[in-house]
Symmetry: C2
Subunit: 239 residues, 2 copies
DNA sequence: TTCATACATTTTGAATGCATAATGCACTTT
DNA sequence: AAAGTGCATTATGCATTCAAAATGTATGAA
């Protein structure tokens, strides 16, 4: 019919709500992503004018986005002196890891109430893929799958508000967390902990999974602190 | 000398950092307060123009504040259709209470590591004042002191990030929480739980205090849900 | 040279302006 | 009268403008 002339099928969309994201939401996500993959590095200035040009927008929606990101703690606004990507301090890590531990523990507990066998199978597959990267010493791949497992558990918790609270915290510590994995000792230990995590999820043992996830994260705390309190030669503590 | 002529002593401030809060920060706090005490009621529109006039500012900083409050979930932005004070649904309560439970539990655990005898004495004084209001059936006073006790424990945790994460959640459920106290059954039970909470804090038993705070909050969940899912005659579910 | 100062330039915070979308209301039509 | 239609009004999202603050730079003094 008409659709085929237009070259695409619109039948599926006729009664859905039309989503019109506003600029500032879109920009929040883009800047999030840029901080995530370090196009905007911790401790550097957020180049307002450049970003406006790059995104082809005016300063108003960009600045709205900056306020939102600042309230997440992802960037820091210095009055009259611009926006800067927040740098992680050892004190921040001391504060944030216990919080994230509590939230991950909750995610594990809730996940056990909802997890199907297929879900466990999915996590198991990720787990053994991660184990493979571990034995091969492939750190970036290990780290990526590791993230996926924790994200999957968070998803199984089926609590969008929990994810929303957790996400900005996780993003703030993500880079430091990645670097902390460099320590091989900790890497082996983390892998053993993950065995137990999978086991507890399989058994739907919410309390145990919660405790494991919490300890797993707290164990990383010291490693992360060591990394970020060791300035490299550029004086740039975490990049 | 000069200070006394001006009528106040400025000697204490000479080397402190001069704080210059930006407009949008100030406005975020004001609107927070207005939602808190229901000058802006749940489910109603946030009157952008009125607020601009009232605060004597332009739309730009106000709108920046609205984006921040929206990212906290305190208000909801409908594209091209204004800002509305977020209304609490039973689903929200189901999601938020376990999260707040986990965070309060953590606050209790951390508090036990830092609490001095003087701090315990302070909480004890609040506790018995609250008990008095309970026996007298003075609900608003009871509720206020109850808040103060939980706030005090959060403060003793000495983790600003924890407070920052907790605060927006607490504010979202605050009104529903207040109404839930109306149920006398729950009120007596809550009072007994508070006895135990004080006891655990006094003993610096972090694990126990954590468990108590968590259960305390979870116990409120059902009462709160009952309240908000019972629309009143105006069809306004929580006001 | 190093340091301080004055001045031009840039950046920032907030107000204003403008195009588009949503809303309210008079007017029709049945 | 109830429901639909078209138009005027208002509100919204974003761009632009403007004043104040911060920054960079050239000049002069020690």
């Amino acid at each position: 019919m008409d659709e085929s002339i237009l070259g695409h099928d619109i039948a599926g969309d006729v009664d859905g709500i039309i989503s019109r994201p506003t600029l500032h939401e879109e920009i929040v996500e883009r800047i999030r992503a840029m901080i995530f993959d370090e196009q905007l590095a911790a401790g550097t200035r957020v180049p307002e004018r450049d970003l406006c040009q790059r995104f082809g927008i005016s300063r108003t929606p960009l600045r709205e986005a900056l306020k939102v990101l600042a309230s997440d703690g992802l960037i820091t606004l210095l009055p009259n002196r611009g926006a800067w990507v927040t740098r992680m301090t050892p004190e921040d890590v001391d504060e944030l890891f216990p919080i994230m531990g509590a939230l991950e523990a909750l995610s594990g507990e809730l996940a056990c109430e909802n997890t199907s066998d297929a879900d466990v199978a999915e996590v198991r597959a990720l787990h053994y893929q991660m184990a493979l990267h571990h034995t091969r010493g492939e750190q970036p791949e290990y780290f990526r799958i590791n993230q996926q497992i924790h994200d999957k558990i968070m998803e199984l918790a089926d609590n969008p508000s929990l994810f929303q609270v957790y996400r900005p915290l996780a993003q703030r510590v993500r880079r430091a967390r990645y670097l902390a994995n460099a320590s091989i000792n900790r890497w082996d230990a983390a892998m053993r902990e993950h065995e137990e995590i999978l086991d507890a999820l399989d058994a739907r043992d919410g309390k145990r999974l919660a405790a494991l996830l919490r300890v797993h994260l707290l164990n990383k705390l010291e490693a992360v602190k060591r990394v970020i309190s060791t300035p490299d030669e550029k004086g740039d503590v975490i990049s």
